[in-house]
């Protein structure tokens, strides 16, 4: 009896701490993301070669003990370039989500809380941004600003924020009449305090879920922009650039494009699984 109680206490504690870890697929996703994060942080220690060092004597070598994932058309070690690429892709994801998430959430909170004309104007603006196919608008912005990784990040953030605005506004509209918000207002809390201390923490769940999906979407979008020449530029070891550079060798040396593509697939897949997992945990109404 006592044993059972201890066991159920223990399982209750585990459940309460990390319900997301109950699903094996979520554990796998978190492991993959942690793996990429470790690669990104410790790339200089882990990479066997300099990602930019050209060894023309060992061009286009297939995977071997010396070069685990082979070498590219300039004799650069693909594994080392992938490790440094993880750094770039994760930074892109984090910066895009931070910029778009903060700006969009601010717009949504203000629109939902202020109501009236401000709400109407801000939501029309949001609708306009949602009408653009993201990559085409991002391409136009990146093309206008000039091709570079920074401009690609700005472009992707510019096409991403509107979703957060809509989500945050929806949350505020459903929360603003709750008793605790009324109570805070009635004891004289300022608008900013009500927004930041009371509304935002309770509106955060769907925003976090969206952020996880957008980490993956931003990595794919940035790689896509780099692939067509509007993002990172060679010789930067960005995954989209690497796929683009391997394009002419797809029939003879497919590993040039294969490995960076797999890296994107696993990274984005992991963030998508995490997004699903977070939604199951944070928003039980949507659980299937």
């Amino acid at each position: 009896m006592a044993e059972r109680t201890v066991a159920s206490f223990r399982s209750a504690r585990v459940t309460a701490r990390a319900p997301i870890l109950r699903e094996p697929l979520n554990v796998l996703a978190l492991t993959i993301i942690s793996g990429f994060a470790v690669c990104a942080i410790f790339a200089p220690l882990l990479a066997p070669y300099d990602p930019l060092a050209q060894t023309l004597g060992s061009r286009l070598e297939p995977p071997s003990a010396e070069h685990w994932l082979g070498t590219d058309q300039l004799g650069r070690d693909i594994a080392s370039r992938l490790l440094y690429g993880a750094r770039i892709s994760l930074v892109i994801g984090v910066v895009v989500v931070a910029l778009a998430g903060m700006f969009g959430t601010l717009v949504g909170l203000v629109a939902g809380y202020a109501g009236g004309l401000a709400d109407e104007a801000l939501m029309r603006l949001t609708e306009v941004f949602l009408a653009f196919p993201p990559l085409i608008l991002a391409m136009a912005i990146a093309g206008a600003l000039g091709p570079s990784l920074t401009n690609a990040i700005i472009a992707i953030a510019a096409v991403t924020w509107a979703v957060y605005a809509r989500l945050a506004r929806g949350q505020v509209l459903s929360l603003r009449r709750r008793e605790y918000v009324e109570a805070a207002r009635s004891i004289g809390a300022s608008r900013t305090r009500v927004l930041v201390r009371h509304l935002l923490p309770n509106a955060i769940a769907p925003l976090l879920i969206q952020a996880s999906f957008d980490m993956g979407a931003a990595i794919i979008a940035a790689a896509g922009l780099s692939f067509i020449g509007f993002g990172a530029q060679p010789p930067t070891p960005e995954w989209g650039v690497m796929i683009s550079e391997g394009r002419n060798f797809i029939s003879t040396q497919p590993w040039l494009s294969l490995f960076p593509g797999l890296a994107i697939l696993f990274a984005v897949g992991a963030f998508n699984v995490l997004g699903d997992g977070l939604r199951d945990v944070l928003d039980p109404r949507l659980r299937r």
Binding site: L145, S251, V268
Partner: protein, 337 residues
């Protein structure tokens, strides 16, 4: 009458969005730090040539005046002149849009034909191997970069196996059918040109499968989750209790109800299809809007980029309007509400 009111409200809404869209595309084109005149004429152009170019494209006028001219032109179907091709942008778009429509619609058709049955199958076998396979493929479809998938598919099915062509819309020695719609499959059917029909169909296979994988995944996921919800309803138990055959229960009772959210998703995937088309067309040398947009943006051809962006931004709300109309007819509750 109520339907007309609903339609009118939606059309006014779309018009308002389009004004916003035109302002934004116009604003983007005017933050270009590089000079489009220099980009078009080269570094060795004289000051007179640059001035003449600016005058021709009205780049020397105040921004507000440029926008008013631009907006007025849009209303009259005039999107300006492409700096790169030296043709009217509307003519360029008219030439390349049908190729994108043909590709996107084929991709969407494939997505529905594969995604809906896959979702149903997955829901019926919930928690068993078929469900696991569909969910894994759907997860990969939502996470795979379309340009990479295109490359892998070309490497495998064109270079290695030689089953399908690796790019273009027709074989080199096949003449395009006389233009009626610009869709080669339809035009060659109208003309009775079987050689062009065969060639255009085999050229569609790889790009349509590549472009359609993402939307197939989204549709399969949506169909699965709405089927699971419907399968748990009381009326499903009633249908079983009545002794109906499983096939009738799944198709007539469950799927019909489960399809409503799926239709919404089909409308929403249109935007991602257009985004995906940019990359897919680049990979498969498909002479559509996406390839035109990429080539124009590279050469700082802002009237062309503006035109593509505007057209793409019209397609999305219009696709959603079509979905809403379909909804209105499909779901009597909306008509009454």
């Amino acid at each position: 009458m109520r339907f007309l009111g609903f339609l009118l409200r939606r059309i006014v809404g779309i018009a308002a969005v389009m004004i916003g869209v035109s302002v934004i595309t116009f604003a983007i084109s005017h933050v270009i730090p590089a000079d489009p005149a220099v980009a078009a004429l080269g570094d060795h152009a004289t000051d007179e040539q640059i001035a003449a170019f600016r005058a021709e494209y009205r780049l020397d006028r105040p921004l507000v005046e440029q926008y008013v001219t631009y907006a007025n032109g849009i209303l009259h179907g005039d999107l300006g002149r492409s700096i790169r091709t030296r043709r009217a942008v509307s003519d360029d778009l008219a030439d390349s849009f049908p190729a994108t429509i043909e590709l996107s619609f084929t991709a969407l058709l494939v997505s529905m034909l594969v995604g809906i049955p896959a979702g149903v199958w997955s829901a019926i076998y919930r928690g068993r191997p078929p469900d696991f396979i569909v969910r894994l493929l759907a997860l990969a479809g939502g996470s795979i970069p379309v340009f990479w998938l295109g490359l892998i598919v070309i490497g495998l099915f064109y270079y290695q196996l030689g089953w399908f062509p690796g790019g273009g819309r027709l074989d080199t020695f096949v003449a395009p059918p006389p233009t009626r719609t610009g869709l080669y499959v339809v035009d060659s059917l109208i003309a009775g040109d079987l050689e062009a029909l065969r060639s255009s169909l085999v050229h569609l296979v790889l790009p349509a499968l590549t472009l359609g994988y993402f939307s197939t995944a989204v549709i399969a996921r949506m169909t699965r989750s709405s089927m699971l919800e419907v399968l748990g309803q009381d009326y499903m138990r009633t249908a079983r209790a009545k002794g109906l055959r499983e096939r009738v229960i799944v198709v007539r009772h469950a799927l019909r109800n489960a399809l409503i959210p799926t239709i919404t998703i089909i409308g929403l995937t249109f935007g991602s299809l257009l985004s995906g088309a940019v990359l897919t067309e680049t990979i498969f040398s498909w002479p559509g809007l996406g390839r035109y947009a990429t080539a124009s943006a590279v050469s700082l051809d802002f009237p062309a980029v503006l035109g593509v962006t505007l057209l793409a931004a019209i397609v999305y709300p219009v696709a959603n309007l079509v979905v809403d109309i379909a909804y209105y007819w499909l779901d009597p509750r909306i008509q009454r509400g």
